[in-house]
């Protein structure tokens, strides 16, 4: 029951917030006729479909899984019939299968679903795995893998990420206001089964109602502190939020768990809290629909696999006006090539940018102003990294720690010369990886 203002923070860029949907209560999207469920909706190995064309499926029935540990099973978001299993290209460029379900509108729940009975950590992690949950803040990291880290006993602190630092997106905020008890439940479950002593909930200062609601959801004895973060993008980056809430500096090449901390997005934790009560796997989620061409932005509860066009139709958005349609926010979101792309587990927003806002301006010469250096949360020097990449100088890229780049985009955002700094950093990382592979192969 304590709220603390964070005194420390890593750098970032002051981007406009555009939180137009803060007070928009979540509305259920009507069930679409078809759900398109890709077999990759997470980091790790793609799933294989375990149903056949013509099979009848229930809401919440498992339809895809992988034997690999670093993966997460996928469940159907509707009851109906499997209409098609075919190839699919994700917006990231990966190839996998997709399962298309013809919905019957009944939403009959899988009869085998029941409230999980957990006696210990192993059963907890197994239940989390079976629920199909992955990092719902956008990363899509399979949650059961994060909780099953080899040195999990060293983890003493849980940081709940409610920064939601991207412009436009308010789905985590609405979760705080609408699913507060589920979040509290989830925090308690993770705390109990992982033996965690301290919990910090990091919330950016532009969400005062969420700060209050979360603070009131816990008793003083639970050792949960709500930390008000500076509203500076990207306070929600993992290392930034750990530093701002706990002061811990995660070393280069280390994981937060190596430093005794794990970070979980608030929607992920809220889902775990709900799953502990009803056993229903991850089949739907909250999506913010907003952007400069959206006249009536909304927060929607959407079955996973719903084509984006259904959301646009419901919000009355004319997709013809859009220059870019993003899964995610404007700083790190992924553009889709067309609106038949489905909503997947780790989406939290659809942002539509007008054609004017999507124009990529011409690049001019670097004037060495140093703004990119001042703004980088990881204290890198993007101007120097760009030069190193342009010359394919792998030694320099390594010396300048390009592998620490979190691709937040602050450098590209702030650059007066409109240089593609963050993008070149990603290419630099790929170059390092390719070189390392070559060196290993020798």
């Amino acid at each position: 029951m304590s709220i603390v203002k964070s005194k420390r923070f890593l750098h970032g860029a002051k981007v406009s917030h555009f939180k137009n949907t803060h007070e928009a209560p979540t509305v259920d999207l009507p069930l679409p006729e078809k759900l398109v469920v890709p077999m990759i909706q997470h980091m790790g190995a793609p799933c294989e479909p375990i149903v056949k064309v013509g099979d009848k499926v229930y809401l919440g029935q498992k339809i895809g899984e992988s034997p690999a540990a670093f993966s997460a099973p996928i469940h159907s978001g509707a009851s109906g019939i499997v209409a098609e299993i075919s190839d699919f290209h994700t917006s990231f460029g990966a190839s996998c299968k997709k399962v298309v379900i013809q919905t019957d509108g009944a939403q009959t729940l899988d009869p085998s679903i029941r409230k999980p009975e957990i006696k210990n950590r192993e059963e907890f992690i197994h239940a989390v795995q079976e629920s199909g949950v992955v990092g719902l803040g956008g990363a899509g990291f399979p949650t059961h893998v994060k909780l099953n880290y080899k040195d999990i006993d060293r983890v003493h602190t849980l940081v709940v990420n409610v920064a939601e630092c991207e412009p436009y997106i308010t789905s985590d905020y609405r979760a705080c206001m609408e699913d507060t008890s589920e979040i509290a439940n989830g925090v308690r479950a993770v705390k109990k089964y992982l033996g965690i002593e301290k919990v910090f909930i990091g919330v950016e200062s532009n969400k005062p109602n969420a700060i209050k609601a979360l603070d009131q959801a816990f008793e003083p004895t639970e050792n949960v502190t709500v930390v008000e973060l500076k509203s500076l993008y990207p306070q929600g980056a993992e290392k930034s939020i750990i530093y701002a809430t706990t002061g811990i500096v995660v070393g280069k090449g280390m994981l937060p768990a190596d430093c005794g901390v794990i970070v979980m997005n608030v929607t992920t934790i809220g889902f775990i809290g709900k799953f502990m009560m009803d056993g229903v796997p991850l089949v739907s989620r909250r999506i913010t629909v907003d952007g400069d061409i959206v006249e009536h932005p909304k927060n929607l509860r959407v079955p996973i696999g719903t084509p984006i066009q259904a959301l646009l139709d419901f919000c009355g958005v004319d997709a013809e006006k859009a220059g870019k349609i993003l899964m995610g926010g404007p700083m790190m979101g992924t553009p889709v090539f067309d609106t038949s792309a489905p909503i997947i587990k780790n989406n939290n927003a659809i942002v539509l940018l007008s054609q004017a806002a999507s124009v990529i301006p011409p690049t001019t010469a670097c004037i060495r102003c140093g703004k990119c250096i001042a703004v980088c949360p990881m204290r890198l020097m993007p101007a120097k990294l760009e030069k190193a990449y342009d010359k394919r100088n792998v030694e320099n890229l390594k010396a300048l720690s390009v592998d620490l780049c979190i691709n937040c985009g602050c450098c590209t955002y702030i650059c007066p010369a409109k240089r593609h700094l963050a993008q070149k950093n990603q290419l630099g990382k790929l170059l390092l990886k390719a070189q390392a592979k070559e060196a290993n192969a020798k």
């Binding site: 890593l10 412009p167 290392k239 530093y243 002061g247 811990i248 500096v249 995660v250 070393g251 280069k252 090449g253 190596d258 430093c259 005794g260 997709a319 013809e320 859009a322 220059g323 870019k324 993003l326 404007p330 700083m331 979101g333 992924t334 553009p335 889709v336 609106t339 940018l353 806002a357 999507s358 990529i360 301006p361 001019t364 010469a365 004037i367 060495r368 102003c369 140093g370 703004k371 250096i373 949360p377 990881m378 204290r379 020097m381 300048l400 720690s401 620490l404 691709n407 937040c408 985009g409 590209t412 955002y413 702030i414 650059c415 007066p416 010369a417 409109k418 593609h420 963050a422 990603q426």
Partner: protein
């Protein structure tokens, strides 16, 4: 369906642009230009205009000759034109102005790679070249209000010659002989504050540079307030020691740079045979900037291992 654009993130860019930064610098120099007309008459406008036009024309021509893209749109040539004019006495012959512009734009800037690649501030380097080559013209001063007629037009000395007896208020307002843009500390400070508010310059270099000169001249027994208001210190510290390409990137790098500039300026003013040291100090520290950058390398977050601060 209209084609959607697919490109890597980020998809939102700030409104910063090189041109906007240059516009802000020109705006910040307008008070000093206005004051120069008040004290020295419309000739200052002529010199400034010729300087700006020459810089832009030279940049356009040399870029065309080198078969590089045209960059006059980024307005940096205009800024160099104004700054070089501000470093010249009001009575300077026009052909010398044009020569200085050629040296600044073609030689110091474009032959080394253009904006961002210059090894020294072009205006400062050109001023030094002109000073070395045309000493008499570069030290022929005009008394304030001489254009009103009847007053002896040619002043024989700037306040730097008799620094301790100069009138502090005159120095602050600019009612003294000197170069076009350097006389009025007030006008330059107004411009400097504007640039800090607009986040174009980091105040650390001007403050530390001027502060160092203040401290050293004070210890040496001079009137430190007069010292910092006189000569080209305000103009140099605010507008030329803050040039992005030729000064260190990190905070401590900037501090070292500014202290170095301050020491060299003070030493030349106190012990050198030139009354003015600002331009030499900036040029010398520009040359040291790559080395300063190397020793003030900022460590990325997490390099050096984990830390547990509670």
């Amino acid at each position: 369906m209209s084609k959607l654009i697919v490109s890597p993130s980020p998809h939102m860019l700030s409104r910063n642009s090189t041109a906007n930064i240059m516009y802000d610098v020109v705006i910040a120099l307008i008070p000093a230009l206005f004051v120069s007309v008040v004290f020295f008459g419309f000739r200052t406008l002529l010199v400034t205009a010729v300087s700006v036009v020459s810089c832009v024309v030279f940049e356009y021509l040399i870029r065309k000759l080198m078969k590089r893209p045209n960059t006059i749109g980024d307005f940096s040539a205009v800024v160099t034109g104004v700054l070089l004019a501000f470093n010249l006495p009001p009575a300077i012959p026009i052909w010398i102005v044009i020569l200085g512009d050629f040296f600044a734009i073609v030689i110091v800037k474009q032959l080394f790679g253009g904006i961002g690649q210059n090894f020294a501030n072009p205006a400062i380097a050109a001023r030094i070249m002109l000073f070395m080559s045309f000493g008499t013209y570069m030290t022929t001063w005009t008394s304030p209000f001489a254009y009103k007629g009847g007053v002896d037009a040619v002043a024989s000395a700037t306040p730097l010659m008799e620094i301790n007896s100069a009138n502090t208020l005159d120095l602050f307002l600019g009612n003294v002989p000197g170069c076009i843009g350097e006389v009025s500390a007030l006008a330059l400070l107004v411009g400097g504050i504007y640039l800090v508010i607009r986040k174009v310059i980091n105040p650390v270099v001007p403050v530390v540079f001027i502060g160092t000169v203040f401290i050293i001249t004070w210890i040496a027994g001079d009137n430190p307030v007069n010292q910092i208001l006189a000569g080209g210190l305000m103009l140099g510290a605010i507008f030329m020691a803050t040039d992005y390409a030729t000064t260190p990137a990190s905070f401590w790098g900037k501090v070292i740079f500014a202290v170095g500039c301050g020491i060299i300026t003070a030493v030349i003013r106190l012990f050198g045979s030139y009354p003015e040291g600002v331009s030499f100090s900036i040029l010398l520290m520009n040359l040291l900037t790559p080395l300063i950058d190397r020793i003030t390398f900022v460590k990325p977050f997490g390099v050096g291992g984990a830390k547990q601060n509670v």
